[in-house]
């Protein structure tokens, strides 16, 4: 037992509360945000190191023993995701002051930012299903705060849909927890896992699992539950889009991974087969959405959906390659999605429009921006030697090995179209005659490019330096596939 496990929740919470008091002093807020996020990042580095050397850190909050109290489980998977979250957050913290947030910064933008991180981190760490619900509420409420911030009419309209759909899924969530509690008499995830195993997931349990799946699938934006996503993600400014795109949907898919590897794993031929279907449909409809628009922010937003599909595919195949592929892809996508949202934010800012048909020739003014986008396109499509490749390789291998041929073909075609959808931005936005720029003034991108480039190097490193990462991911996958380890580490006595 170590209090280390609670730090990733408490640090951002304290940061958020501190920043409320500096609300009107924008400069101090900015600096404090950067300092706090760097501290969180360093702490999460330390935690990862600690977890990977000494094993899972369990914290029984308030010293109420498992399974009665709320247990925080900082295992290898959670710690890596915490690290990635803090990495993305730090980059956003350095990007935000230049992002043209204007007045928003003095209306609790930074507190919301940290509340969001609190909720996300909590969702990754908690070992308690009801507590997971609470952290979902925290991150959703923070996201409502961010999404309505300084809202015009359009923004409020889209926020309302976002809010109502999420509210519905929260209601369903808490109801499903109640059902599950009625059957197994506990909300501790390890104990639920143990008890579901004991009765071999018989009777109504699978149906309750499916209800939970739909709750998480709504948050994760899987087919056909993602309606709220595209329009609501593009309305706010790029920092918010990046945080949403990188973190919110990932919490949903992470929860699916957890719940359907720890608890509901005794009817794989039903539940996980469903996932493969949903994964394929998400890929197809997501990429169709991305191709349907000339709004470059929407292109990126739609691209969230096939990525989640890929992650779900690995969970569906439920092999060691599939799961490690999912985890690799999850981390990869958290990084590259924020890179893309931030990049597109810069592009929209310098081009003065998000309509691709009105752009052209930007490379003459902004070569670095163009090449960053170019590389990102290949990262996203899973072209080697970047991070997406490793994940995709493992996912497709897992799918092949479990005999799912059709989904691999869908996955490969989707990859091509993902590349096409981003490449369109490069070809039509950046290439072209200098005259296409018209009387566009050259704007300063100071402070915007460096954080994004910094983040993108991690995508490259995760691919080129896969040897330093993959063996760990592989061992995490082995750990995920054996729920007994988790159960024993929580309910040790």
């Amino acid at each position: 037992m170590s209090n280390l496990a609670v730090l990733p929740i408490i640090l951002p919470l304290v940061s958020a509360i501190t920043l409320i008091f500096f609300n009107s002093k924008v400069n101090i807020s900015r600096k404090l945000t950067q300092i706090f996020s760097v501290i969180s990042l360093l702490v999460s580095c330390y935690i990862v190191w600690k977890v990977f050397t000494d094993g899972t850190i369990i914290l029984e909050t308030g010293a109420w023993v498992a399974p009665y109290g709320i247990i925080l489980v900082m295992d290898s998977l959670a710690s890596l995701l915490i690290l990635t979250t803090n990495l993305v957050a730090t980059v956003c913290a350095f990007y935000a002051p230049h992002a043209g947030l204007e007045k928003k910064e003095s209306y609790y933008f930074y507190p919301f930012f940290f509340f969001l991180i609190t909720g996300v981190s909590g969702a990754f760490i908690t070992g308690d299903l009801f507590n997971l619900f609470v952290f979902f509420e925290v991150l959703l409420m923070a996201s409502y705060g961010l999404i309505v911030l300084g809202g015009g009419k359009v923004q409020l309209r889209e926020s309302l849909k976002y809010l109502l759909i999420n509210l519905f899924s929260s209601m369903l969530f808490v109801t499903a927890i109640a059902f599950l509690y009625a059957v197994v008499g506990t909300v501790n995830m390890a104990q639920i896992g143990e008890r579901v195993q004991e009765v071999e997931q018989q009777g109504i349990l699978t149906t309750i699992g499916i209800l939970l799946f739909f709750v998480f699938a709504t948050k994760a934006a899987l087919f056909p539950l993602y309606y709220w996503l595209p329009k609501s993600y593009i309305v706010p400014n790029p920092v918010i889009s990046a945080l949403f795109g990188a973190l919110l949907t990932k919490v949903g898919i992470y929860s699916i991974l957890r719940v359907f590897s720890l608890i509901f794993v005794y009817k794989l031929e039903l539940t996980h087969e469903l996932f493969i279907w949903v994964a394929g449909l998400s890929m197809v409809f997501g990429i169709i959405g991305a191709l349907s628009t000339n709004n470059i922010k929407l292109i990126i937003a739609y691209n969230i959906i096939p990525a989640i599909g890929f992650i779900l595919l690995g969970i569906g195949t439920f092999t060691i390659d599939g799961i490690s592929g999912s985890i690799y892809y999850l981390i990869h996508d958290m990084i590259i999605k924020s890179v893309l949202f931030l990049l597109v934010g810069v592009i929209v800012y310098v081009a003065g429009t998000s309509d691709l048909r009105k752009m052209g020739g930007l490379i003459h003014y902004y070569p670095v921006l163009g090449w960053l986008l170019f590389i990102s396109a290949f990262v996203l499509a899973g072209i080697p030697p970047f991070s997406g490749f490793i994940g995709k390789l493992l996912l497709l291998k897992g799918a092949f090995a479990s005999g799912h041929i059709a989904i691999v073909i869908i996955g490969l075609l989707t990859s091509l179209l993902i590349l096409y959808s981003i490449m369109k931005i490069f070809i039509y936005g950046f290439w072209g005659d200098k005259q296409m720029l018209g009387n566009l003034e050259k704007k300063s991108t100071k402070g915007l490019i460096a954080p994004v480039a910094f983040l993108l190097t991690f995508s490259v490193l995760l691919g080129v330096g896969a040897e330093f990462v993959y063996p760990h991911i592989d061992s995490i996958a082995a750990y995920i596939l054996d729920p007994q380890i988790y159960i024993d580490s929580v309910l040790k006595e």
Partner: protein, 772 residues
Amino acid sequence: MIFAVLIPLIIACFIPLLSKLKEKIHTGIFVLFVPLSIFLYFVQFLGRDFNPIRHTYNWIPSLGINFDFYLDGLSLLFALLISGIGALVVLYSIFYLSKQERLGSFYVYLLMFMTAMLGVVLSDNIFVLYTFWELTSISSFLLIGYWHFKERSRYGALKSMLITIFGGLSMFGGFILLWVVTGTTSIQEMINQVDVILDSSYLPLILGFILLGAFTKSAQFPFHIWLPDAMEAPTPVSAYLHSATMVKAGLFLIARFSSIFSGSEWFFIVVSLVGIITLCWGSYMAVRQTDLKAILAFSTISQLGMIMAMLGFGTTAAVFAAIFHILNHATFKGSLFMVAGIIDHETGTRDIRKLGGLITFLPITATLALFGTFSMAAVPLPFLNGFYSKELFFDATLHLDSTTFLAQAIPYLAVFGSIFTFVYSMYFFFGVFTGPKQLDKLPKKPHEAPIGMLLSPIVLVAGVILIGLFPNIVNAPFLLHAAQAVNPEVEFHKVAFWHGFNTPLKMSLIVIAIGIILFVTRKKWSKVYTILPGKLSLNKVYDQIVEKLDVISGAITRSYMTGSLKNYMSIILATTLIVSFVFMFITNGFTLEYDYLADVTILEVSVVIIMIIAAVATIFTNHNIAAILVLGVVGYGVAILFVVYRAPDIALTQFVIETVTVALFLLCFYHLPKLRKSTDSAGTKMTNLFISVGFGALMTMVAISAHSSNWFESISDYFVETSYKLGGGHNIVNVILVDMRGLDTLFEIAVLGIAALAIIGLIKLKKDKGAQ
């Protein structure tokens, strides 16, 4: 060896620094040393007693992805082509590209390509091969789009990328399957497991995936359409990537895997058929072109088809001929591309209809073109290398291992394709250099190219002649090793000019005879193109696909992304509903036990009935206040139920919430719009009714089943026991809230705080904006 592969990429990183000097020294001069030194490095391996060399450098050993460089005869042939032609192309580009161009980018892309292509041919590891393979597509994309201010360049770049990366991904799929089937990532080790692969039920899939990769890259019918559009690239690039090297990567892939796949009958059928169709279609279409580079592009397609067909034949003679032709094609086609570039450079046009009689202005170029085109046409002269490999090709078509109908037809198709090869070769040469001069149509006054620009094609033509005169100097030390790497049974055979008056020679003579007739009368029969291809155009198919992709995806997306929350909710609810019911049904989830039920009193029944009536009534009220009051009844009903079940604190909370909600609503009632009568059609209403009733039924059934599946002790007993002992409070709910599950409470409070801040932000920021 890793150094030889990576050095272009490393140098590429320094190019941006060098291009600052470009006003003084052409960047190409620095770059020239790179391919030259790589060429010299690989030359040392030439020789009769060459044995394959392997170097391994770890990259991701835990996934079996390592830089396994394997240099055998086949890779050596390609490595020499890549570096040798590369050096010549860089030399040529120094004179072709003026210093005003973005030389830095050009050479960075070119060097990137060099590394990529060397990587493709030297990698024994499938995934490293794939990595380099995609890198060749990417650098090709950038080079085609080099003059990206031109619409056609952007179009061509995108087209080539979509088609080649499509193939690349397909190949990747095939590689993963091979990995799954054999458990290894090394091609050589896979060759040792031929039987495992051939016996695998995945074989057709593997074959299909990998062939798609090869066919797209090597511009085989029907994927050839990207190559003519790739001609938008600067001519040195066309000579290098789109004729001599990159487009041969597909051939390389087939050659590499042919010792595995040649055991499959399908391999012969598909590869030969596609190859021979490509040969015929490419040469047939080349005659129709008017742009010099387009003629050469279709000619390249056709020649690639011919080599592909030979690899498909798989016989020892065919394999040797294929290898031989890979080399020969690189020499004569490379020189012809450079000639086309010179003509373009010196006259300002590549339109063959405007050109003519240039022999007097560009005598040296004309001479070079003469050798190039005649070698391509396989005119039987002892100093033209093209003739030798063409003879071997004809010979190979006559000795196939197969007796299928296809095998019978191949010799005729070979002759057919070769006739058109002859025609377009003549068309190219005589159309440009003889005939009436049309100087007034030329943008520039034509004159001979500077010697620097002529140097590279001269070297290549020298190669044509040298190999023509002494074909055996490249045979034993070079070609034989390459051919043996493809098919180990290939034995040394002297290549000779004269074999007697045999069938292949007769075929050649038929080709020339009909070719001359067709060439002379070409104006008369050119109408045939209005019938075939006529309006059929694969380009249109591609354009349609790309365009329709946008249109259809737009239509699909708009059809469900209506922006209507009601639609979204009904789809979300309906999906949840249907899937959950299906799962409940197949897992036999519904259970009903009467053991744990309490007695039902008249009070509960009447409360519930009132609630139901109220809930139904909300749907039918058309007035805001009425709706909220009726809804309030439901809430208070729940509160009463809590009282009945002896949960006074929860009941109290519920009462407070209901009261506050109703009060709040009444406060803002004034600002709300009036409820409108629903205008939905009866069908929609029915669907909505079905969904809502269904969802209610689902929740009820799950709740009943959950309650009936009381298999475990609840942890709540522990709370009862320890509430006072450990928590120090008699009120269990309080102890749970502030102690046992204090973390939940802390963050629920945080949620309230965030909500408050959000509301402040919402109101105040809007006010601020209003003030402005």
